[in-house]
């Protein structure tokens, strides 16, 4: 079947199997490999993307459900340089193997877009859907603090 969606600001058309997920469409049909396939059952958040402005696990959304809708992926962050959240992840040492990183960058950007003044417990609760096996999360929290400060200073 054919699916047409506004992906990172451009209308794109993909020919996919009827049972394909949005993640499969992004990765295998549109060549957007930044969204990752770690669990493919909505447990790890590695495939987090925005669907009409709301963060979803792309593995849990049918490609067909994206018809006519707006999708934004990690590839759309940053532009010429790094988005402040991306920069904070590198600066804080929040990146190790990097497989969870794109999903966490999306989740943290979305969180800070909504509220950059949350305390640590609220941040932990907000990110509980993103698994990381490498860092123990300490440096991810450092990255959130760095990025939140940048956001409060109007970095984006």
């Amino acid at each position: 079947m054919s699916v047409r969606a506004l992906v990172n600001g451009q209308w794109r058309e993909a020919d996919v199997w009827g049972g394909a997920s949005l993640l499969t469409m992004l990765r295998d049909s549109l060549g957007l490999l930044g969204s990752k396939n770690a669990c493919e059952q909505g447990e790890c958040g590695s495939c987090s993307v925005w669907l009409d402005g709301e963060v979803v696990c792309a593995c849990l959304v049918l490609a067909a459900q994206a018809e006519g809708r707006e999708i934004r992926t990690v590839e759309d962050l940053g532009g010429d340089g790094l988005h402040p959240v991306q920069d904070a992840f590198v600066a804080a040492g929040a990146v190790q193997c990097g497989f969870c990183t794109p999903g966490l960058v999306v989740a943290v950007t979305d969180l800070l877009d909504r509220d950059a003044s949350l305390d640590e417990t609220a941040v932990r609760e907000a990110l509980a859907g993103n698994l990381c096996r490498c860092t123990g999360y300490e440096k991810i929290l450092d990255a959130v603090r760095l990025a939140a400060a940048a956001k409060r200073e109007g970095a984006w």
């Binding site: 490999l33 930044g34 990752k36 600066a91 990097g98 794109p102 609760e125 440096k139």
Partner: protein, 796 residues
């Protein structure tokens, strides 16, 4: 924080500085290519049929339905393996594809290549296998029984070893006895196994794959494909985490067979459920152990027996039980000991390397014993450890003298001198911070806080006489904007930050800022595995030598009399004066290829004595937990982690290993357990195999102790495994402190903590198997090629 005397950055972005990692930017933008991201326009998709039975005879396989499906290009079974039917990390005892018998549930039986993932999956479903199912052997103690089925021609024992030191029959004032179990743990790297095999014009294969050691992969792959090694060219694909799980082969031989058969590139990647069958796990263990001490708390004797379940094939079980047994008395001076360890075959999923490599299982046991002993003696458990701790010059139960750095008391003191977190009023707490999180139906009324401490140690580098080396090449070229140092090595970045470490070493050694890292491949000789906490040490050593080789070459070109030169800006200096313009001296690139070896070790003798391990890293952990005993739930509140690394090349990366390693040990303490029943994994998903989330993770404070290792480059040791080893016993000790329960099994399940299940028990110490000697049993069978054959490193 760092102790005084650590590395000082002599050049910007050199050693000792928390330099940003070079792969950081592509990883945050999504541009970094992992094994599962590989792509070729002409590629087919490979898939694997796996046995549903843990033990069965294959009567017949009918592939006709699959092979006639349109879009299916190949369906291959055991008879299609071009060369050696078996492979294996240390011994070739594992079939590429099962032929007559399957020994574990999940064992590959057939492989297919098709135009799409959906077609490949459909083809796998259409293969008909007629199995004669047998009662599986699933208990590691039963594996030692003479009436158990014998799973390999040489029996069920992979290796049994015995370390005898002093007089193990000696008496002591006090004795404490214990029995301990640990469950299966999975490495659960987020990146799934993946690779792309591309057939080459010369009849060989280009293999792009996520692996921890390219050359030992090639050593195993080439004979199975009936190809010479130079026709199997391996290129590292992005890893997505390893933790030991990428030491054994996964898609390598299968994808290559399909590519060579079809003449098309073949991509294979495992989904999460298949991944749980597609890699080895941490060995479950049973440890019987007895400590004797004097009334004033000096260890007199340790007697221990460790039994680990290697599953169906040997993988790295021989080395894992070697480590577990040599570490079984802990980082303590023990004058008399009898330490025995056995790894057995069963019909359970194969076990092999996982962060800690045999140490976590015995550390859990001996540290619980130390707490019991402190109680029996009537002294503080930390003081008991201080009293018995190893120091430089101490003798281990293996007779090995600890000649290197051993700042054990400093590690202990740094850990316990940090302030403890203040208790919080449960009524004031956000419910998500209660044990069990927002799902906790109470209001924190029955919470009990506990504090636990653990000490441990780990060898750095390969042991028992293994010729452990790393070859690297540094090429200094005249770039457009100044000199560029190109680095070529087969060393694998698994996520720990090796790229940053290697860049820092080269900057410091050469004084050149611009460093380019080539993708790891098999063009040069081996760099050894990224495992055993060894790659920072080994890469530092090889790059230091190669950089010095480049400087010697520049010295020759500048006409110096063989003296050392340095690079300062655009000039080459010798004896305090400029001797040449760098750009002019680099009309031809200056290159050096060098091989580094850590100090040699020896195999163990018939009494388990020998200079077995190259060096040791020590670690301590203090855990603070809150326990809701009525609900059987735990929240780990805080960890103080101390790691002894020799020297920290990049302190931020060291902290990353401490924090991440601690989380992995915590997981085995309170939530991670691969549920294996009747030989079958029952929870192969991230829904049912519980990994710590950010809500489960405690705050972690890390102290880095730097006492340089003599003879090591920059004094570096390693840090990849130490925090994992001590986190498990520290968290378990804290839960014991909170509850007063014995808790001799990890992980501690809700029923254990709520007191619904008592301590685990078993029979008396298992029988000692009759084996020819200390080496792995397959050694004595001959015919099976050992990984030790890779040790023939050569200088260029």
């Amino acid at each position: 924080m760092s102790a005084p005397g650590g590395l000082r950055a002599r050049v910007p972005r050199g050693i000792g500085e928390s330099v940003r990692r070079p792969d950081g930017v592509p990883k945050v933008t999504g541009a970094f290519a992992f094994g599962s991201d590989l792509w070729d326009e002409r590629m087919l998709i490979g898939a694997t049929l796996r046995s549903p039975h843990p033990f069965a005879t294959i009567r017949s396989i009918d592939v006709s339905g699959a092979s006639t499906l349109p879009g299916v290009h190949a369906v291959l079974v055991a008879d299609d393996v071009p060369g050696d039917p078996n492979y294996g990390l240390e011994f070739r005892d594992q079939p590429v594809l099962a032929s007559d018998v399957v020994r574990y549930a999940g064992e590959p039986v057939a492989i297919v290549a098709a135009e799409s993932p959906e077609l490949a999956a459909r083809a796998v479903e259409l293969i008909q296998v007629d199995y004669e199912v047998h009662e599986p052997l699933t208990d590691m103690e039963r594996a030692l029984s003479p009436d158990a089925p014998q799973l390999h021609g040489w029996g069920n024992v992979v290796r049994h070893l015995r370390i005898e030191h002093g007089d193990p029959e000696v008496d002591a004032d006090l004795w404490v006895d214990g029995y301990y179990e640990t469950a299966w743990q999975d490495q659960a790297p987020l990146g799934p196994e993946g690779g792309l095999a591309v057939p080459a014009d010369d009849g060989g294969v280009e293999l792009y794959v996520s692996t921890q050691w390219l050359h030992v992969d090639r050593l195993q792959i080439a004979p199975c494909l009936a190809l010479p090694e130079d026709k199997v060219r391996i290129h590292l694909a992005g890893m997505g985490g390893a933790f030991g799980s990428r030491e054994d082969l996964h898609v390598q031989i299968h994808a290559s067979m399909l590519a060579l058969r079809t003449g098309r590139p073949v991509k294979m990647t495992y989904g999460r459920e298949e991944s749980f069958s597609g890699h080895v796990h941490r060995h479950p263990s049973r440890v019987w152990i007895r400590h004797g001490a004097s009334r004033d708390g000096r260890l007199v004797c340790v007697r221990a027996r460790a039994l680990i379940d290697g599953g169906a094939y040997s993988s790295s079980s021989p080395a894992v039980i070697g480590n577990a047994t040599t570490f079984a008395a802990g980082p303590y001076e023990v004058p008399n000991a009898l330490l025995e360890g056995t790894a057995v075959y069963t019909n359970n999923p194969p076990c092999g390397a996982m962060r800690g490599f045999g140490a976590p299982q015995v550390t859990f046991a001996f540290e619980a014993q130390m707490d019991k002993l402190a109680d029996a003696v009537g002294i503080d458990p930390v003081e008991l450890r201080r009293r018995n701790a190893l120091r430089t010059g101490s003798v281990l139960p293996t007779g090995q003298v600890v000649n290197g750095s051993a700042p054990v008391r400093e590690v202990i003191d740094a850990c316990v001198s940090a302030p403890l977190p203040e208790p919080t009023d449960p009524a004031e707490r956000d419910p998500v911070t209660l044990p069990g999180g927002a799902g906790n139906v109470g209001h924190g009324e029955g919470l009990r806080r506990g504090v636990g401490f653990a000490l441990g140690f780990k060898n750095i580098g390969y042991s028992e006489g293994f010729d452990d080396f790393h070859q690297a090449r540094v090429t200094l070229v005249r770039g457009v904007d100044g000199p560029v140092a190109e680095v070529h090595t087969a060393a694998v970045e698994v996520g720990q930050g090796l790229g940053a470490v290697m860049s820092q070493v080269v900057r410091s050694e050469l004084g050149v800022d611009h460093v380019v890292l080539h993708t790891a491949d098999t063009q040069l000789d081996s760099a050894g595995s990224t495992s055993a906490s060894r790659q920072t040490l080994m890469a530092s050593g090889a790059l230091q030598l190669a950089c010095r080789g480049v400087l010697e070459e520049l010295g020759r070109r500048a006409g110096t009399a063989g003296g050392a030169v340095t690079i300062e800006g655009d000039q080459v200096w010798a004896d305090g004066r400029p001797v040449g313009d760098l750009s002019a001296l680099l009309q031809v690139p200056a290159e050096a290829t060098r091989t580094f070896r850590h100090r040699p070790t020896t195999p163990m003798d018939e009494k388990g004595q020998g200079d077995l391990h190259p060096m040791f890293s020590f670690a301590a952990m203090r855990a603070v937990v809150d326990v809701d005993q009525e609900l059987g739930l735990v929240r780990v509140v805080h960890l103080d982690s101390v790691v002894d690394v020799g020297a920290a090349i990049n302190p931020q990366l060291v902290e990353g290993q401490s924090e991440g390693g601690a989380a992995m040990g915590l997981g085995l303490a309170v939530m991670e357990e691969l549920q294996v029943r009747d030989g079958v994994i029952r929870n192969p998903s991230f829904t049912d195999y519980l990994l710590p989330t950010i809500l489960d993770a405690p705050s972690v404070d890390t102290v880095i102790v730097e006492e340089p290792e003599p003879g090591a480059p920059f004094g570096v040791k390693g840090v990849g495994e130490s925090a994992t080893i001590v986190a498990l016993p520290a968290v378990m000790a804290a839960i014991r402190d909170a509850t007063g329960l014995e808790l001799n099994r990890a992980p501690a399940r809700p029923d254990d903590i709520a007191g619904l299940a008592g301590p685990v028990t078993t029979g008396s110490w298992p029988p000692v198997p009759d084996v020819p000697g200390q080496e792995p049993v397959p050694t004595y069978v001959g015919a099976l090629l050992s990984q030790r054959a890779t040790g023939g490193g050569r200088e260029p």
